[in-house]
Structures are given as structure tokens and as C-alpha cells.
């Protein structure tokens, strides 16, 4: 799971942020809620930072009434492009792998 996840974490994070801007833990929670329960906190935060450096995300700080401020991320045009590419690649890839592995396990 972990190894598989690494390959698609960028796409997953981009997809979550594309739905709605979010701060680190918010993105993490939505990923977990979507079923990626084993995802590591730091992996998500590091990925957000890397995507931001690559220009796929924009960020802004929202002060909090109580407690520390939150750093929100939003997707950029470049990020949407990236996500589109990765979606396409993922669909092609899963199609290929599904063909290879067959569909013996119907429940999956």
C-alpha cells in the first residue's frame, strides 16, 4: 500500500485540493476519509510543500482566533494541468495492470 501510494500521492493531494482549498491537516483528513487510512501525516505535508515549490499549488496563511495560524493551499493552473496528466496516466496504468492481473477477485 505504502509503495503504491507514493506513486499517486501527488495526484491524490492535487485532486483533494482541486475540490476545495485546504490546510495541511484538512487535506490529510479528506484523504483519510476517502479511504487512504494509512497515509502518513508528514508525507502529506511534505507533498503539499513540494507541489507548492513546483508551482502546482498556491498558499496563503489564515490566522486563527485561537491557536496557531493555518497555511491553506489552493490549486494553480499549472496544478490542474498536472492533475489532468496524472489522471490520464493513472487510468491508462490501472487499465494495463488490471488487464495483467485479471479480475479473479470479483470483490475488488
Amino acid at each position: 500500500m505504502t509503495q503504491l501510494l507514493k506513486g499517486v500521492l501527488d495526484a491524490a493531494v492535487l485532486a483533494v485540493v482541486e475540490q476545495e482549498d485546504g490546510y495541511g491537516y484538512d487535506v490529510l483528513r479528506r484523504l483519510r476519509a476517502a479511504g487512504l487510512a494509512d497515509i502518513g501525516d508528514a508525507s502529506v505535508y511534505g507533498t503539499l510543500r513540494r507541489l507548492y515549490s513546483a508551482g502546482a499549488l498556491t498558499s496563503y496563511v489564515v490566522p486563527s482566533d485561537e491557536g496557531p495560524h493555518r497555511k491553506y493551499y489552493g490549486i494553480t493552473a499549472h496544478g490542474r494541468q498536472m492533475l489532468a496528466t496524472q489522471r490520464k496516466e493513472w487510468q491508462e496504468f490501472t487499465g494495463t495492470v488490471a488487464g495483467l492481473l485479471g479480475n479473479r477477485n470479483e470483490a475488488a
Binding site: 491537516y25 487510512a37 515549490s53 496557531p68
Partner: protein, 459 residues
């Protein structure tokens, strides 16, 4: 559980975030900031979610947070928050963070350093191992809320340390130029250096003004350690009372200073300002003089001059403005001059009288032509007090008749031992009726009025 004090939670979160940053500190402050900005908020939210879900973990198996998530799992009410149990060790968290952010792992950096300096690597590895073990050994203590509170308290003292560090650095910097350590230097350049050093130290402490060079943090660390080492002896040095310090109670310290100096020379070599003025006996500054007549009886209001006709003043300009302690008399005292019949102050009239520190007002000094300095004078209705005599009666009588060399006076055993060639002025000690002890006769009643003496030509 939200009942866990929010502040405790925040303190733990800050501590954990700080530990994570420490494991990233080879990346440079900008990257670390960028990577961990908002980390506290994320950790806090995550913790709050966990505390909310852990008690009913069985009901929602898909809830985030592993079952071992260490928040409140043991004692829900006042659980000790161990973030390392919830998020894993800070080192691993940091490693995951940097890896997912596409940054090189720390080991690679350490290796690069190691290839350059074998010794450096040994030191770094030993240090990291040692500090990990140290931190681990203390975890039972350091993971308690009380410790977090203590650490917060100590952290809040950081500005005090910044000031102290600047001061110590200034003292060390000025030393080669002859600067004497002092809380507030005497010289203007010294003061400028001190202010500059303190401001720089504070700014560095706040993370400003540090040159953006790879060795800057190292320099800061070395300077801090050096200042920490230097600050103790420096503080000890300046906290030692010195006779030249205004407002200083000079008897006790003067005695010990004088005693120490007397081991080496009978004359003070004048270590600082004011040390070579006034009257000194065996290296100890004298505040008052007591004169006894030839019968051993005390004499009041004696004018004392030296062989050049100069009035002998124990109270220098500085001495008059400072308090003194007096043997066998409690309190701090300002010595007062005698007033001559023409109204002028005479400081060479002994014994000097003194006024308690609480009974003075500060008035312009009449001898100062510009009237800018102020001197302590007794409040209206207060009379200066006579200081206690060292002896009620001097231990030795001096007969007025000069003993002829070789003549053995009746009743004196001393005369025979005198050098026959001694000059007549070196009169040998005569009869000693009272032995070496002070006589117990009472001193004649004192005149409560301030001393009034005739003005003399000599001044």
C-alpha cells in the same frame, strides 16, 4: 479529550514541532520555515481529532489514528500527551517530511560532511547519539506537563540571556583595550560598544541581522557558548564591591581588600578610579582619624595637616558623596565636615562626625562654582553624630620629657632596650600604665554641637 488543558496541548505541540525542526536544521532556516509553517496547527487538529475518536475507536474502525495513538489512551482525563506515540519519533516525522518534499535525507548530508572531516563526523555522530540517548533517558520527566511549563518559563527568560550575552561580549571585546568590566562602563566608547553589542545580541536572538552565510549559525553558537562561559567570572568580578564605587559600604570590603593588598605592599597601587586619593593605612582606605593626647585621652576637633601644610582629608570629593559603614555602629553613614567660624567647611578636622543615611538631604555643593554637584547634608534638626572611638583611652602614655639615650627611667623597662643613637624625635615608648589594653576611663562628655574651629590660613 478537550478537557486536557489547551495550553498544555499547545506546549506539547510546540515542543514536538520544535524537535521536528531540529531534525531539519541542516536545510537552512528558509526551507525549514517553509516546510514546517503551520505544522503546529496541523498537529493540534490531528490531536484533537484523535482525542475525540480514540475513546470510541471500536465504533469507527476507519477512524484516523492508529489504536496506539498515545493521546488519552491510558487515562483519558489527565493523560500525559506523548506526541511521539501519536506521530512517531520526531526524527522519523522529519525524515518523512523531507522525503515527501523531495529533499535529500539528512544522512546524505552527514556523509558529505564526514567525507570532508573524519573527526567532524565522529564528533557529530557522537553528539547525535549522545543527545538522542540523553533525551530518551529524560523522557519520563520531559514528557510531563510540568516539564513543558518549566521549559516555557525558561524560554520566556531568553531575552534576559540575550542582554547578558551582549554585555559579556562587550566586556570581552573591550578587555584588550584596557576596559575594566563594569555593569555600565565609565567611558563613552565603552558604553557605545556595550549598547551595540546588546542590540546585536538581541537581534540575533530574535533571528534577525544574522548574515545569510553557512557559518553564521555556527558563529552564533560559538559566541553564545563563549559568552556563557565568560559571563560567570565577569559577573563575579563586577559584583565584588570596590572602594571606588559610590554608595558602597566600604568598611568590610575595604578591610579585606586592604588586608590582601597589605600582604604585598604597604601602599595601594591604585587599581581603579579614586584608589590613590584620600588617606590609606596599609592599603586600606581610612574614613576617620582619632587623635589622643599624651595622656592617652581622646581629643576632639583636631586639625590635621601634612608636612607640606596641606589639610589631611580622608573624605575625597567622592568619599563625601558615598555612604560608609563604621565599626561597631549599625547603618550607613555620610561623613560631615566641620564648619569653620567663617562658615567654610573644614574636612581636616577630626574625628569627623557623620549623619545616618536616612537623615540627609542633598543640597548644592557650595564649593562647586557651578553649583551642579550635590552633597548630602543633615536634615534640619539633625545633628551629626560622633563616631565611636576605637579606644576610650589610648593604650600608651607619652611623657612630654624626651628620654635621654642610655638613661634608664624609673619604672620603664623599655628605655634600656632603645638604640642609644636613635634621634630624639623618635622618642621611645614611655611608661605603659594601662598595659596594652585600652583604659576603661570614660571619654569626657561630648559636645553635641557641630565642631566649630577657627579658620586657618592653610586650606
Amino acid at each position: 479529550m478537550v478537557t486536557t488543558s489547551t495550553e498544555t496541548l499547545a506546549a506539547h505541540v510546540r515542543g514536538y514541532a520544535q524537535a521536528v525542526r531540529l531534525h531539519l536544521d541542516d536545510l537552512g532556516p528558509d526551507v525549514v520555515d517553509d516546510l514546517t509553517d503551520g505544522l503546529e496547527a496541523d498537529l493540534t487538529d490531528s490531536l484533537l481529532d484523535r482525542t475525540a475518536t480514540v475513546p470510541d475507536a471500536g465504533r469507527s474502525p476507519s477512524a484516523p489514528g492508529s489504536p496506539s495513538g498515545g493521546v488519552g489512551s491510558g487515562a483519558p482525563g489527565d493523560a500525559v500527551l506523548d506526541l511521539a506515540a501519536a506521530f512517531g519519533p520526531a526524527a522519523e516525522y522529519a525524515a518523512e517530511l523531507r522525503e515527501s518534499a523531495g529533499l535529500p535525507p539528512r544522512a546524505a548530508q552527514a556523509n558529505r560532511l564526514a567525507r570532508r572531516w573524519a573527526l567532524g563526523r565522529a564528533v557529530v555522530v557522537a553528539w547525535e547519539l549522545g543527545s538522542e540517548r540523553w533525551a530518551h533517558a529524560w523522557r519520563p520527566l520531559t514528557s510531563t506537563p510540568a516539564w513543558a511549563g518549566f521549559r516555557d518559563f525558561v524560554r520566556s527568560l531568553a531575552p534576559v540571556w540575550w542582554v547578558l550575552r551582549g554585555w559579556a561580549a562587550a566586556m570581552v571585546l573591550m578587555y584588550p583595550f584596557g576596559g575594566t568590566p563594569a555593569i555600565w562602563p565609565w567611558s563613552t566608547p565603552g558604553r557605545i560598544v556595550l549598547l551595540a553589542a546588546v542590540v546585536v545580541s538581541i537581534q540575533w536572538g530574535r533571528g534577525r541581522w544574522l548574515p545569510r552565510l553557512s557559518w553564521a549559525p555556527g558563529l552564533l553558537r560559538v559566541a553564545s557558548v563563549g559568552a556563557a562561559v565568560a559571563v560567570v567570572p565577569l559577573l563575579l568580578y563586577v559584583s565584588e564591591d570596590r572602594p571606588s564605587d559610590v554608595g558602597f559600604s566600604s568598611y568590610e570590603a575595604g578591610w579585606s581588600d586592604g588586608y590582601n593588598e597589605a600582604q604585598y605592599s604597604s601602599v595601594s597601587d591604585g587599581g581603579g578610579y579614586g584608589d590613590d586619593t584620600g588617606v590609606w593605612v596599609d592599603g586600606m582606605q581610612v574614613s576617620n582619624l582619632f587623635v589622643y593626647d599624651r595622656n592617652g585621652d581622646p581629643i576632639r576637633d583636631v586639625q590635621v595637616f601634612d608636612d607640606r601644610g596641606r589639610p589631611v582629608r580622608t573624605m575625597t570629593a567622592q568619599g563625601t558623596a558615598q555612604t560608609w559603614t563604621v565599626p561597631e555602629l549599625p547603618g550607613d553613614w555620610f561623613f560631615q565636615p566641620a564648619i569653620a567660624s567663617d562658615g567654610r567647611e573644614r574636612w581636616n578636622v577630626y574625628p569627623l562626625r557623620a549623619v545616618d543615611v536616612n537623615d540627609v538631604e542633598w543640597v548644592p555643593d557650595e564649593s562647586d562654582p557651578e553649583w551642579v554637584t550635590e552633597v548630602p547634608r543633615p536634615l534640619t534638626g539633625i545633628q551629626p553624630t560622633t563616631m565611636p572611638w576605637p579606644f576610650l583611652k589610648a593604650p600608651t602614655d607619652i611623657p612630654s620629657k624626651v628620654v635621654e639615650p642610655g638613661t634608664d627611667e624609673t619604672g620603664t623597662g623599655d628605655a634600656g632596650t632603645q638604640d642609644p643613637d636613635a634621634p630624639a624625635t623618635d622618642a621611645p615608648a614611655g611608661t605603659v600604665p594601662g598595659g596594652d589594653r585600652p583604659a576603661s576611663d570614660t571619654v569626657p562628655d561630648e559636645d553635641p554641637a557641630p565642631a566649630t574651629v577657627e579658620a586657618t590660613e592653610a586650606d
